[in-house]
């Protein structure tokens, strides 16, 4: 018995040492981003080049990330949130200014996109764009038959009851209803929100599932006919199932910019900057685009891409489409609470 106990304890110690080897020592950078949001091979390349160890964690929606940063319950260095969340983090003084001397590759990011960023980061001090894009409807041409899909209202079409997938993220879900009603995506008018809630409730019986990134797989496996999804998923979805088609509805949509930012509490700020700089390098950005297929704001990388990809209006949006889109803004504590309240009400139905 004694021997066994000794054995178990020494085994535990060995495991501990092993674990701490994996974790311990050397320079590190803690990254917290959307799940599957860059090519995992890049981690190894970065580590080899810089000797900095990457610790990666992922979240599903920005709302999930926010309390962790707000309460500093876990300390991360680099985040990759969306526009409105960046605005909120800046407002609440949770981000630190980036030292662009350490990020020379910022020159690769197109001016157009830095301009877009000013919507939420007015002086371009805190964020470096990683991807941008819009939401639209991905549909299966065979399953929808002759129906023309070009409006958000098609998601309310009863012929496709049980074959519709909606987003499962407060702002993105409300966005669809707000666009149909002709309201701003950033409305905090309670009556307008109520109306949008009613509309979403009405749609609920028709919805197969509320999902985020898994929408792509559901559509690819033909378990549903249409779903709300980001244009960045289109190329990848097409690889899985060539009957899929993507459209940005005529009512307009949201324009999102997801950017790298550094937390206020970051203990490895220079490593974080090294990571951002690495991600902005043209060859890296190109490789990442090829993996992720979300439009990249890196013009130097765009120049390396094939003509037909670059001209694909579903991937690199036309200015016309962009003009028809709205960027999400942070709504302040009261606005957020209002959305939470109606979100819960809609979910309880």
């Amino acid at each position: 018995m004694k021997k066994k106990i000794v054995l178990v304890i020494s085994l535990a110690i060995v495991m501990l040492v092993l674990a701490s080897c994996g974790n311990g020592g050397g320079e590190k950078v803690y990254i917290y981003s959307y799940g599957d949001y860059f090519d995992p091979d890049l981690i190894g390349m970065f580590e080899e080049e810089t000797g900095i160890t990457v610790v990666l964690d992922t979240y599903d929606t920005c709302e999930e990330m926010y309390p962790v940063i707000k309460n500093n319950s876990a300390s991360y260095d680099v985040l990759c949130p969306s526009d409105y969340m960046i605005e909120r983090l800046i407002d609440e003084d949770l981000l630190s200014e980036i030292n662009f001397d350490n990020v020379p590759n910022i020159k690769n990011i197109g001016d157009k996109y830095m301009e877009m960023s000013k919507e939420f980061d007015p002086d371009n001090k805190y964020s470096v764009p990683h991807t941008f894009g819009t939401a639209g409807i991905l549909y299966n041409t065979e399953m929808v038959g002759d129906t023309v899909i070009d409006s958000w209202e098609d998601l309310w079409n009863e012929d496709f009851s049980g074959e519709i997938v909606m987003q499962d993220s407060i702002r993105d879900t409300f966005m669809v209803a707000e666009k149909i009603l002709g309201y701003s995506l950033n409305t905090v008018d309670e009556d307008e929100l109520k109306e949008a809630t009613e509309l979403l409730k009405e749609q609920k019986p028709l919805v197969y599932k509320y999902a985020n990134d898994s929408t792509r797989d559901i559509l690819a496996s033909e378990s549903a006919a249409m779903g709300v999804i980001w244009n960045g998923e289109y190329l990848y979805a097409l690889e899985l199932n060539d009957k899929l088609e993507f459209v940005v509805p005529k009512e307009g949509s949201q324009l999102f910019v997801d950017s790298w930012v550094i937390t206020k509490t970051s203990e490895n700020k220079e490593n974080a900057e090294a990571w951002i700089n690495f991600m902005c390098r043209e060859d890296i950005a190109k490789q990442n685009f090829e993996y992720l297929t979300y439009s990249c704001p890196n013009v130097a990388a765009q120049a390396l891409l094939d003509e037909d990809v670059l001209n694909n209006e579903k991937v690199f949006l036309t200015d016309e489409t962009i003009d028809n889109c709205e960027v999400l803004k942070d709504l302040g504590p009261e606005g957020n609470e209002l959305y939470s309240k109606y979100w819960k009400e809609f979910k309880a139905e």
């Binding site: 674990a19 994996g22 964690d57 319950s73």
Partner: protein, 260 residues
């Protein structure tokens, strides 16, 4: 007639319990990433699993946490089980009542309560907070397994040893512990199992980059899970199966085994 009916009944329940497991095992050998179509046999997810650092780190985390937490819980719990026996019955009931709280409380409440406590005391979440949380919910299982073994005879033996001049430590290690051994072992295994399988409490108390197998799976389920995780659980499942079969085979036949 009656026998075959029983057989069918057990078969249906077993099928219900094993169907998802069979599906996972089959999909782990699937060539494509699709969950719906089996397009051909392939071992590539097994390769990917071993080369994926996040998965390997999660495996290491899961087992280091489970081993250290269950050892700590076993030590504290065993001492406590003996100690509680020395208390007056009123005191005993009170302490056992508190012991039952983590056991019967909802995981989500336990997890949240621990999270709030850590933050209130300014403890940033890390590997250590997960370890502390796991010890907390493991101790009750150890006490429940060990306590029934602490009875009159261990008491008498312990006191006899003291009378004969043994030191307290000596008496405890040489006299009490051997008596309690089966209970301790069962408690340790139970605690270990609970720790490995826990998701909710880890979910709330884990720090940056600390993933266990469960939290890694949860974060991937939403994005679209990769079959490499099926490969991982298939391997773990087969290992457990082999260990349990060996234990059963090596032990004497006819004796009813406590598998847990």
């Amino acid at each position: 007639m009656k026998k075959s009916l029983k057989f069918i009944y057990i078969g249906i329940v077993a099928l219900f319990l094993y169907l998802p497991i069979i599906a996972l095992v089959v999909l782990s050998f699937n060539e494509s990433k699709s969950m719906a179509v089996f397009s051909g046999f392939s071992l590539k997810w097994y390769e990917e699993m071993f080369s994926n650092r996040m998965i390997m780190q999660a495996v290491i985390n899961t087992f280091t946490i489970a081993i250290t937490a269950s050892i700590t819980a076993t030590i504290i719990g065993t001492l406590a089980a003996v100690g509680i026996d020395g208390m007056k019955s009123k005191q005993q009931n009170l302490v056992l009542g508190f012991n039952n709280i983590p056991l019967l409380n909802a995981d989500i409440v336990t997890g949240i309560a621990l999270l709030l406590t850590f933050l209130m005391f300014g403890i940033s979440l890390n590997w250590g907070t997960v370890y502390l949380a796991h010890v907390t919910f493991c101790i009750p299982y150890v006490i429940l397994s060990v306590r029934p073994r602490v009875n009159k005879s261990t008491n008498t033996l312990y006191e006899a040893a003291l009378d004969l001049g043994a030191s307290r430590t000596y008496a405890f290690v040489k006299v009490v512990l051997p008596e309690l051994r089966p209970g301790i072992l069962a408690g340790f295994l139970l605690a270990f199992t609970m720790s490995v399988d826990d998701f909710v409490i880890t979910h709330f108390t884990r720090g940056a980059g600390i993933n266990t197998i469960s939290t890694l799976i949860y974060s991937q389920v939403k994005v679209g899970i990769r079959p490499s995780l099926f490969a991982l659980s298939t391997i773990i499942f087969v290992m457990v199966l082999i260990i349990l079969l060996l234990v059963n085979f090596l032990s004497k036949r006819g004796k009813e085994k406590v598998i847990y």
